[in-house]
Symmetry: none
Subunit: 403 residues, 2 copies
């Protein structure tokens, strides 16, 4: 992983502007033997030119063979070893729906469930109650109040929601209330240490109020909470790297992760690649580093839609000239992980990386951006956590180590 | 980094002779888009033949993206992780001008400065007094004597010099005497622990004598000391690897580093590649391992002289047959770091490596020695600290691990 103390001791205040362009799930695989991958099949004239001018490599997000979730995969791209910097499930769920999780907050994942008259669970997922029925219930829960703390509640999908407690002296080491079986009542929130006793009490008060509020609902007449977790207190990205850092992205999860590491998360209109790059242009003078997140390639990969994923990549390529007009000094185009349409899910395959830095790169012999060209590119195959120092170097933002 | 305990437990007393040929700053970059690097542009028929017979790779001196100074870059080539084995600035300055820094010695960097009648600094660099004026002053300081210890003083450049104290019970944890501002007197040497109190006292005695000696000088009438550091007590290279080890090099810094790790530093006439290889020949029967250092490629790179750097590499190539006549078993040709003429300074780009070992190498498909061929060579991209075990293996100097 990036050695944060080393980077902090070498970082310069001055240097080039860096764009980290993440096409979610970019890495792919041939859908039929001997064929191209999604990226290789996509029409990408601008990316191919950038590959010819720059250098290619491939990133290993976690460890060889390990398929990452989106949270750890992004943390790795930002330089945080995901095996060291653990973000609790409650926090990931909360930031995933756009809740802020700040220093000292405690978040949890919530499930609506069904209970009988004796309070025993009859369905742990409230019959997978559809979103249009569950969202209004979540809005009711969002109105509940607790003494001395604030609560935020947001619906996720179907029977799932997220809740965040905010106040002084909170701690997240609390056991799940989901008993993982039916026929018994939900468990109380149990503190795992003296330090989380008050937090557990507050959650139990909130659960009691929520149960009173939900009483009489046909399906979702109770709830369980899981994955209690404190703000992970990640070292601040802008301080580690000395970069004024902005996130341009549409999906709450990625905006939330950027927020957790201390980037400024920008609001803008639209969600197309053109609109995202226009947002970069709008904030260009205010930042040294832009994390730009594009979700579509992953979604099409998860659908098993090979051509759709290739088209999503081509759409990013078509919009790229807008970004290059800004004359960035360093552009890295990569993914957080691979999502081959072949597998319809995230995978462990190394992720293509294109490094474009006209003033400082040692161009390799690549002539087009593709998965296989990346695997044998001049940058080699290396951990995602080493990417940021490399981008810093190419932006001439690191002093020499030693004399 | 190389696992010294593992290597020590597996090393054989017998085996082939190894030459580590370091062309300082060898790694480069195209100076114009689409063009060759310095190494690729150089006429290197012998190196190209060795590449065809051997295998190529690329070395990362410190960590990805980190630009190394010469000291840490060489330590890494010798197998010492430069983030673990720190050599103090005073020691580097001293060995850089050819002073020996032995076990128990304490070294410091010195600056001549100007002080007013009240002893307050008016110029921290004595008006950057030129070398021809400062060198005679340093010679005067070299005559000063202290009770119970010996001192060595040598001029570096302009207002800079190095000083080494040698004796029993010395320690280098002492604060700088440079107050980093004018209008105040130099600080006394302050010990940071009880163990360095006597050493600080000795330095203060030496400073008092030096001030008396310099009194009346128009510019350099006082001095400050910085970067106090003890001999770093590096594990001995010849013991780790079981290699009788010689350094053939011209520049004091590299000779000093070789001395710090316990190699025998040989004297010889001349400084051309031919003369350095002739020195290798002269000592051939006495050693198992030769570290041969060639400075010119780095100097031309720092000048931004692309053609000059290519010529310097070609000159080494032209002399190589003299070395190969000795029938070495293993020859590694590499650099300590990259110094692209494009950047006119050290850089982070991985360093080309050619491994030639006719009896044991698995030749890759390379046909010529060049930066890009190395990045995609059969040895891969790996840390410099892993090089020595690889050379040991190719010299059949390591036993099997386990049964």
């Amino acid at each position: 992983m990036a050695d944060f103390n080393l980077i902090k001791s070498l970082k310069r205040d001055q240097g080039g502007k860096i764009v980290l362009l993440v096409m979610d799930g970019l890495g792919g695989a041939p859908i039929s033997p001997g064929g191209p991958t999604e990226l290789e099949a996509a029409a990408t004239p601008t990316l191919d030119r950038m590959a010819a001018e720059g250098a290619l490599g491939a990133l290993v997000p976690i460890r060889p063979g390990i398929t990452p979730g989106s949270g750890p995969a992004h943390l790795a791209l930002f330089g945080y070893d995901p095996l060291t910097y653990l973000v609790g499930r409650g926090v990931l769920e909360a930031v995933g729906v756009g809740l802020q999780v700040r220093k000292g907050d405690v978040a949890a994942r919530g499930n609506f469930c069904s209970v009988d008259n004796a309070g025993r669970i009859t369905d742990r997922r409230a019959g997978r109650i559809p979103t249009d029925q569950a969202a209004p219930l979540t809005e009711r829960l969002a109105t509940l109040e607790l003494p001395g703390v604030t609560t935020e509640v947001r619906h996720v999908k179907e029977h799932r929601f997220a809740v965040v407690l905010r106040g002084d002296g909170l701690a997240g080491d609390i056991d799940d209330t989901d008993p993982q079986q039916t026929g018994v009542p939900p468990l109380p929130a149990q503190p795992r240490s003296e330090g989380s006793r008050r937090t557990a009490d507050l959650f139990n008060q909130w659960i009691a109020k929520a149960n009173a509020n939900l009483k009489g609902e046909p399906k979702a007449n109770s709830l369980t909470l899981r994955g209690f977790a404190s703000d992970p207190a990640l070292p601040a990205f802008p301080e580690i790297y000395g970069l004024r850092s902005a996130c341009i992205g549409v999906y709450p999860m990625y905006r939330g992760l950027a927020s957790l590491v201390g980037m400024d998360v920008k609001d803008f209109a639209g969600e197309s690649p053109e609109e995202e790059f226009a947002a970069v242009a709008r904030y260009w003078n205010d930042y040294d580093f832009f994390f730009v997140h594009l979700k579509k390639p992953d979604s099409r990969g998860e659908d098993g839609d090979f051509d759709g994923k290739a088209s999503a990549v081509a759409a990013v390529d078509a919009a790229l000239p807008r970004l290059l007009e800004l004359k960035p000094d360093v552009v890295a185009v990569t993914g957080d992980h691979s999502t081959p349409a072949l597998l319809k899910t995230h995978s462990w395959h190394p992720v293509p990386l294109l490094l474009w830095a006209p003033a400082t790169v040692r161009a390799d012999r690549s002539t087009a951006f593709g998965d296989r060209a990346c695997e044998t590119g001049g940058l080699g195959i290396f951990p995602s956590t080493d990417l940021l120092p490399l981008l810093m170097a190419h932006a001439l933002r690191l002093e020499k180590f030693g004399a």
